[in-house]
């Protein structure tokens, strides 16, 4: 299940939904990404997330499909926020449910690595020195490349 929204989300509720009423799931791994209050040595006032409506959802669905093809997952949830976010705010949640922990952990890491390099979101930071688009990091490409 994928969702793109400006509203905040509740990680505990999302994790609980993944395994509610089921007893075949032994493991739920999850990841929450948060806005950090500092960037390039400057205090961050806010971060604004722009995206490509339509393609974002399709790309997240493709990323979910790839994870499901690769690991025996019982369920997957990806929630990503857009719009203006303050330091400390939640940006993204991925959670994976599986019979055993290795699949759940690996799939959650895969989802984050692919999301970081494939999903059409762009971050703009407002700092003391003005507005700056966040530069893509080579380390994210490297992280994604290990799954090939």
């Amino acid at each position: 299940m994928i969702r793109v929204q400006s509203d905040d989300f509740d990680p505990g509720a999302e994790i609980a939904k993944l395994h509610a009423g089921r007893s075949d799931i032994g493991a739920v791994a999850s990841f929450v990404g948060l806005v950090r209050g500092e960037s390039h040595g400057e205090k961050l006032t806010s971060m604004t997330l722009e995206h490509f409506p339509g393609m974002t959802e399709r790309e997240l669905e493709r990323i979910e499909e790839q994870a499901r093809a690769r690991w025996a997952l019982d369920d997957v949830v990806i929630v990503h926020r857009v719009g203006e976010l303050k330091p400390g705010a939640r940006i993204v949640l991925v959670a994976t449910a599986a019979a055993h922990r290795a699949a759940a952990f690996e799939a959650a890491e895969f989802l984050m690595d692919y999301l970081k390099t494939r999903a059409p979101f762009w971050k703009r930071e407002l700092r003391a020195s003005g507005e700056h688009w966040v530069e893509a990091r080579g380390s994210d490409d490297d992280a994604a490349a290990r799954w090939r």
């Binding site: 984050m112 999903a119 059409p120 530069e135």
Partner: protein, 83 residues
């Protein structure tokens, strides 16, 4: 052909989308980028360095050698930075 621009590409070009009639020889994403760059102004600035630019045709990531044709939706944007 419908063109979409995101993030600093949108800011430099000065708009988020537009409809264009590209000449017939513009048959790839790379040729389209060159043709837009030749318009000068904000386009020249946005398309100055193809290495900093990514593209999608009909909402699928593609390389600059991918074909484009009338009716396609082509998006130009920087490397993504979500998550």
């Amino acid at each position: 052909m419908k063109l979409l621009y995101f993030a600093w590409v949108r800011q430099k070009v000065g708009r988020g989308e537009e409809i264009v009639d590209a000449p017939r020889h513009v048959a790839t994403v790379g040729a389209l980028a060159e043709w837009l760059k030749a318009k000068g102004g904000g386009y020249a600035e946005a398309f100055a360095d193809p290495k900093r630019m990514r593209a999608a045709v009909n909402q699928e990531h593609v390389g600059f050698d991918a074909p484009v044709k009338a009716g396609d939706e082509v998006a130009f944007f920087p490397p993504v930075t979500g998550g």
